[in-house]
Amino acid sequence: MPHGYSGKILRVDLTEEKIEVEEPGELFFRKYMGGATLGAYYLLKELDPGIDPLGPKNKIIFAASVVTGAPVSGFCRYAIVSKSPLTGGIADTQAGGWWAPQLKFAGYEAIIVEGQAEKPVYLWIDDGEVKIKDAKKIWGKDTGETQKIIREELGDEKIRIASTGQAGENLVRYACVLNELKHANGRLGMGAVMGSKNLKAIAVRGSGDINMADEKTVGERAKWFAQNFKDNVSNDRVSEYGTAELVNALNEGGMLPTENFKTGYFENAENLSGERMTEEILVKGEGCYACPVKCKRVVKTEEPYEVNPKYGGPEYETIGALGSFCCVDDLVAVSKGNELCNKYGLDTISTGNSIAFAMECFENGVIDEKDTGGIELEFGNADAMVKLVDKIAKREGIGDLLAEGVMRAAEKLGEEAEKYAMHSKGEEIAMHDGRAKGMVGFGYMVGPLGGDHVVVEHDTDFDESALDTWVEQAKPLALIERIEAAGMDYQKIRQFMYLQNHFSMMDSLALCVFSFAPVRTLTMEHLVELVNAITGWESSLWELMKQGEKRVTMFRAFNVREGFTPEDDSLPDRLYEPIKSGPLKGLANDREEYEEAKRLYYEMMGWDKETGAPKKSKLIEMDLEWLIDELKI
């Protein structure tokens, strides 16, 4: 009997209404520890390339990991993995909260959902008993109503529910999935995949325990974390002000994404800050399973918009996307936009990015009031931003076009609009300036998901102004020198590769990067200690880092099989153009430097320069030789 995990994977075929439990064995879970590494295994084995992401042949996998559910800060997360309707490549999007531990308590590591239900359904997992239930009563409802009705129907307030809202049903390409109405698997359209399968929600109740190898060590470390996290500046900051604490710091540094990446400085940024939120609209901080940090926010407002606290409050990314990126300086409007996104099941990053795109199209006459239904869609118009969130979720008017994402919208609107579409591989770019942070920009370029900001720990955590702790805690990864935040010199290509493998490992184990080194409280040593105490393995940072590299390699293989080429590893032109104002005015990425970095990075990763595919030798090194035939190499 393994420790930390049950070894059971639930497979649900919605077409055949068939439910099975698979047990792939201990060796499998050592090779594919969880999250998207486990998910990518099944997608690579079972999906034919070229299938419609919104058709019955796509599969959607909800995956915790071998260590999820241990009662320590950061062990509460899970990944949703599928073929993305936004990019056509692999999707991996993660959420904390309470759902994943419950899945583990019910005795499962992951759920593979395939096929397409004939009519709307939801899945009910009650320990060993799993049922496909009629979702007639909740179809067409928002996430809040869905949660309430399911809990009433099943007669238990404590059931944990992951669901999508109307945006998922309407197949908005960046519709998301939320648990507890505020913990989002935000990115890449997993709500739409659920919608396409007529799957509204997955409700879970578990009564089991995590059978840990060394419960004492885990308990002691959890206690130590609770006693010490306030001494870690980064954990203290988010505990006090939420991730929105970043707004002022990024703005003063000239790198707050503003006006669709035209600039990095927003005059009225302070109105959007975590400090301001705390003073004016905060109800409380709230957290995830077993975490004392409580970095999530709960806000309540009455005027001019009524915001219901049950949907939480805006994170930094949301404030960036619906706020500064659209030049909206009204925190109440941003909070309303956030509430609507959480109700409808919309990714706040893609939503805000799409609205900013539409604003720039409006500014330049690509679209006009006839297209917007009379809305003056100018940068800074808070009310227009809120109205557009609603229209996107319902696919009404201009919202129908924006629900396709900026890449497809720009293709329809023509060449001029393409200049304003801030995406990579079809995914809207997140709220960090890829010029001010060179590796983050490079991540937008070569990262497998697209405009994803969680590819590496950010450049500014290692530059001359970075705290000593951050630099010290990165040393076990062989990152021993400080870097310049902007640009991609040789040192940074190496650093990018190591840090990408590191974050990828964190994702494979479904861990929260806000609990761990280099920047946060738990060190690399603690990480290994905890993995071993939970599983009973004698693992090492080396083995875990290889798990991270395996995930990156598998993602690459998936995308190549779907027809992605090195040309898809690109950035919008704007990130090669100078920031137009603020402290970093004039800063731009050098196209040649980025292209060279890309070639060198491919070589370091063991990928073919011409095709971008992992080489045979790399697949063998990664224990992925079964992919050799798959990739025809």
């Binding site: 500046v233 980064s234 203290d236 900051r237 006090e240 002000y241 991730t243 604490e245 970043l246 002022n248 710091a249 990024l250 003063e252 540094g253 000239g254 790198m255 800050s273 975590g274 400090e275 930094y316 990314e317 960036g320 709220m431 960090h432 900001h453 720990e457 950010h458 500014t460 955590d461 530059d463 102004s465 970075a466 705290l467 000593d468 702790t469 951050w470 920047v519 402290p583």
Partner: protein
């Protein structure tokens, strides 16, 4: 009003410093020719031990970034009348 030989600077404090100070922005009058380091000492005297523990790490190194008029400043820098001093954590990731 600043008298002869005196300067007035604006100090903007973010995040945990704001929490400890209970202020986000203050004006400080000091003698002409004073260095940034001296201003920080003055603030630590005013706001107390917890404030100081946020500003400096255990080894006495500055934990925060100081900007003068938007530019990163060194502790030895001399302040001028009308300067805007920002004290903030390095941005980090989000």
């Amino acid at each position: 009003m600043t008298g002869e030989g005196m300067i007035k600077v604006t100090v903007k404090m973010y995040s945990l410093l704001q929490r400890e100070a209970g202020d986000s922005e203050i004006e400080v009058c000091m003698k002409e020719g004073i260095r940034l380091e001296k201003l920080l000492e003055k603030l630590c005297d005013k706001y107390g031990r917890k404030f100081k523990n946020i500003l400096y790490n255990n080894e006495g190194r500055l934990n925060m970034l100081c900007l003068i008029n938007g530019k990163k400043a060194e502790l030895e820098e001399t302040l001028k009348n009308g300067d805007r001093v920002v004290l903030m954590f390095p941005a980090g990731g989000g």
